[in-house]
């Protein structure tokens, strides 16, 4: 599979990135290089290997259902680009 310019355009849209024509060309090239590199994995025989869903050999890590105090109001909104009336303020959505 080869990455084409349209694929990069779609990826940029999905990631909310604005790319120039030069950047699109550069990303097309570098993404293909990454894919080629990953492609070497297909040479391995994996018929007897269980598909992995996680890199760590761990299961069942839980918290108990106990309430703890989180951030206060001021801390919660500290990084908000805009805040008003105790809420995060965001520009027009649609």
């Amino acid at each position: 599979m080869r990455i084409k310019a349209e694929d990069v355009e779609k990826l940029a849209l999905m990631s909310r990135l604005e790319l120039t024509e030069e950047e699109k060309a550069a990303y097309t090239e570098s993404l293909n290089a990454s894919l080629d590199y990953m492609h070497s994995l297909t040479k391995l025989v994996t018929d007897t290997v269980e598909p992995a869903v996680h890199v760590l050999p761990m299961v069942n890590v839980f918290r108990e259902d106990r309430v703890e105090i989180g951030l206060d109001h001021k801390q919660a909104l500290a990084n908000a680009p805009e805040a008003e009336a105790g809420s995060f303020k965001v520009p027009r959505i649609v």
Binding site: K10, L13, M14, R16, V53, H54, V55, L56, M58, V59, N60, V61, F62, R63, E64, D65, R66, V67, E68, G70, L71, D72, H73, A76, L77, N79, E84, A85, G86, S87, F88, K89, V90, P91, R92, I93, V94
Partner: protein, 485 residues
Amino acid sequence: MSYQDKYEMVCGVETHVELATKTKIFCACTTEFGGEQNTHVCPVCLGLPGALPVLNREVVNLAIKAGLALNCEIAEFTKFDRKNYFYPDLSKNYQTSQYDLPICKNGRLEIEINGESKSIGITRAHMEEDAGKLVHSGESITTSDSSYVDYNRAGVPLLEIVSEPDMRTVDEVIAYLQELVQILDYAGVSDCKMEQGSVRFDVNVSLRPLGSRELGTRTEIKNLNSFAAVRRCLEYETERQAKVLNKGEKVIQETRTWDDSQGVTLSLRTKEEAHDYRYFPEADLVPLKIDPEWVERIRATLPELPAAKRERLKELGLSGYEAGVLTSSKAMADYFDRVMQNYADAKVVANWIMGDLSALLKANNRSFEDCPIKPYQLADMLKLIKKGDISGKIAKTVLEEIYTGGKDPAVIVKEKGLVQIRDQDALEKIIAEVLAQNPKSVADYQGGKEKAFGFLVGQVMKATQGKANPELVNKILKEKLQIAY
């Protein structure tokens, strides 16, 4: 003309239900409803860089419980995935959900339609996190220059229950939803407070010509939060699709929104790409292995579910209708059972609960959840009726007294002097007086006017403030009236 003359509806529903945990699914913030904006938040549910989620064990317990209540298979191995999309109510720009290995699948529930039973398939149920809440600066999202985000709800655990497209009429859809919510309520997996948005529905609906087996193009209407909204929305959307098809046009597959004030569905189409959620495994959470012992431990905690309860009530001699009303909420059904522990006459108990007690609660805007009359108090009152201490009519007064004052029925009857007069001598004396005061009615009765008898009974009851034993009054009156006056 209705759509049903030419088309058959095909409908499936996705139900989002908030699970009844104290804390959020991946952090220790409280799930409490209300609260000042952005005060039930932490780095995890705000999606701050570097914060790590840890799964709440109770979420898994409740998901298993819901799955068992819905006759699902519980997965031995399950995991979380990221569902990627941009929307301001989503703090991380992805929702942690489950994709290809949901915790529950292949379930079903039974509904009853016109006395016939029908099975509705449950495709799957999976765990996920709720999003935050948006408040728009203007009238609606499309007319607002800005919106405000409150993340208190972000991370509240949800179970998304996906049905098969098995429903063919609006009534079937409503019956399915009612049964589903009832089961979740009984199982105790959610508080099912519809008015607080604890349960929300997305409906998928399409039409096909009568007799056709192929599926038509469907639309999805998201975020309906009451049975009434689902009904009105489906009634509108089926007619809308029928009009499109009748004109020879095609229904467009799309997501629509229900505008409750206008009573219409509106297209939510945007120029942008269709759904491309690019699901991938959530690397911040390790997978789950659920062994059979865990499932059995949860199964042992499952209470009696609505269908079983209805059957049991019918076996006690109640009608299908009575069993249906009594089990319509878990609180009412539990109340019935508790009264029955002290007064085991199902018909009598059902009559009082469905009749006078329900009316009393309704008049005071309360429910069986916070009924001021304790089940043992109702049972004690029924015992007083059975013993003949009070009449059914006086009992209504007693019931109101227990409701307002909280005292036990025996105390009320004694304090208010409501004990029924069953003393033959005392009643004979009162009746003699009533007859002496109403010579015309006596003459009327003896002259063949049956009606006069009822009047005389009424006078006796009036003279005793309703406390006379009715059978005794009838008997003495008849005897006395036969003696020529």
